[in-house]
């Protein structure tokens, strides 16, 4: 029985619309450590709806400029890369981000807010990595990390009321283990499959797949996997979860081998993440239910 649910889910991934060419190019470029803003401009310039949308945002009330911005170069440098990538992805995967996460008892907007908060936190955490980790890649991985939930949510209807007590009784170590038991795979694996189906460049698919178990990631992506893992944990601690699974995930203690972060650093990161998250969310005008 489990096998057939798993097959259904794998089939459902293949029915998700592909992301637009400019979205996948932007993700590819953003992931390249040597890229500059000019590379992003070159992609956006060729996508008229995207150009229009970026100009609309940069001229919106949130930025309160005196003079109207009409050049895309200027718009991109004002918005910054995070905002552009965030906006493009939000748009490309809007049908997933708009999921009400019924199987998690969530609400429409939760997934977007949680992923955005994780993205902001991961980028901050990247600065504390012992080896160099690309902040932009960390941000993108954060934005994508829980998208698998949008696909499996439909198969998890009415399960939170069973899963939560089962975790409390020690039947499952965490929420992902419950997903595994019920579906034969968890949201991280589904996210990995989705990212591969979208042909996103490595390390994005792998990091999505290992975001709850960075200790098991291949060594070359471990530092990034830990960065995204901690970004996710910080987002969960803020209360900005995705419904019933919210804090039922483990912190992998070996992060200390990869990330140099004391209590005071963590407290500062929490403040900065809240401020930056609010800034981006308000600018993008993609508000969740309530906050």
């Amino acid at each position: 029985m489990t096998k057939s649910i798993k097959d259904d889910i794998l089939k459902a991934i293949r029915e998700v619309p592909l992301i637009s060419p400019s979205a996948s190019q932007l993700l590819e470029i953003s992931n390249d450590p040597d890229h500059g803003l000019v590379d992003l401009v070159n992609i956006v310039k060729h996508d008229a709806p995207l150009t229009a949308q970026l100009l609309r945002i940069v001229n919106s009330a949130a930025f309160s400029r005196r003079a109207e911005i009409t050049s895309i170069d200027r718009a991109l440098s004002l918005l910054g890369e995070d905002m552009v990538v965030g906006m493009v992805l939000a748009d490309a995967a809007s049908h997933l981000f708009d999921s009400s996460l019924e199987g998690y008892g969530g609400a429409k907007g939760d997934l977007w807010e949680h992923n955005l908060r994780s993205a902001v936190a991961a980028k901050k955490i990247a600065a504390y990595s012992k080896t160099r980790v690309n902040g932009d890649t960390s941000f993108t991985c954060g934005l994508l990390h829980d998208l698998g939930k949008a696909i499996i949510s439909d198969y998890l209807k009415n399960t939170p009321a069973e899963i939560i007590p089962a975790i409390a009784q020690g039947k499952f170590n965490n929420y992902s283990a419950a997903e595994q038991e019920i579906l034969g795979l968890d949201h991280a694996e589904v996210g990995l499959e989705l990212a591969r189906y979208w042909q996103l460049p490595e390390p994005l698919p792998s990091v999505i797949g290992y975001h709850h178990k960075p200790d098991q990631a291949p060594s070359e992506i471990k530092p990034l996997a830990y960065v995204v893992h901690l970004g996710d944990i910080i987002a969960m601690l803020s209360g900005g979860g995705t419904g019933s699974d919210n804090l039922f995930h483990g912190l992998v203690p070996e992060y200390v081998d990869y990330i140099d972060l004391n209590n005071d650093d963590l407290a500062l990161v929490v403040i900065e993440v809240n401020e930056e998250f609010n800034r981006i969310r308000n600018s993008l005008g993609r508000e969740g239910v309530e906050q």
Binding site: Y104, G105, G106, A107, P160, A161, I163, I164, I167, N173, N174, I233, M236, L237, S238, G239, G240, G241, G243, S244, N246, L247, F248, H249, G250, L251, P253, V256, N263, D264, L266, A267, L268, V270, I271, N274, E290, Q291
Partner: protein, 162 residues
């Protein structure tokens, strides 16, 4: 009637029986709810971190962000509404301070918040009468000023009283 939504680091005080004070999705943050019996005033502060020394300039604009500045700030606001804070006239309740499953407690901001809040309350001769703290789930807190009856909620769970 107004819904007073208390964001992270904010606080609200009301004695209008039509108001409902609410804070959403407390993770490691802690909501401290003050119920002033004789004046039927309710105060709520949403504390994110224990100590303001980490970023004093934040405490200037948002004293509620930290336990050590948030508690004096809300008590002052309640005094300004005519609550005499002292004696047995104040009921204090705490909710939040959750954590992820963190065996070594290195990310346990919730626990540090709770400890700091209690120490400060004790130093003022106060203490919580009721609390719903810790665990690995978030809490949304709703208090209608009229009744002062606090409801907690969390996705996937039935609502419960505090």
């Amino acid at each position: 009637m107004a819904n007073l939504v208390v964001g992270v680091g904010d606080f609200a005080v009301s004695n209008d029986p039509e108001d409902i004070i609410k804070t959403f999705a407390l993770g490691s943050c802690v909501a401290i709810i003050f119920l002033h019996k004789t004046s039927r005033t309710v105060g709520m502060v949403h504390v994110a971190l224990p100590e303001s020394r980490i970023k004093p300039e934040k405490a200037v604009t948002m004293p509620g962000y930290f336990a050590d500045t948030g508690i004096p700030a809300i008590l002052k606001a309640m005094n300004a509404k005519g609550c005499v804070t002292g004696g047995n006239n104040m009921i204090i309740k705490l909710a939040g301070g959750a954590s992820v499953m963190d065996t070594n407690n290195t990310f346990n901001i919730g626990k540090r918040n709770i400890l700091s809040i209690k120490k400060i309350l004790w130093s003022l001769g106060m203490g919580p009468t009721t609390e719903d703290l810790g665990g690995t789930f978030s809490r949304t807190v709703t208090v209608p000023v009229k009744t002062g009856k606090i409801t907690l909620s969390c996705p996937g769970k039935k609502d419960w009283p505090l």
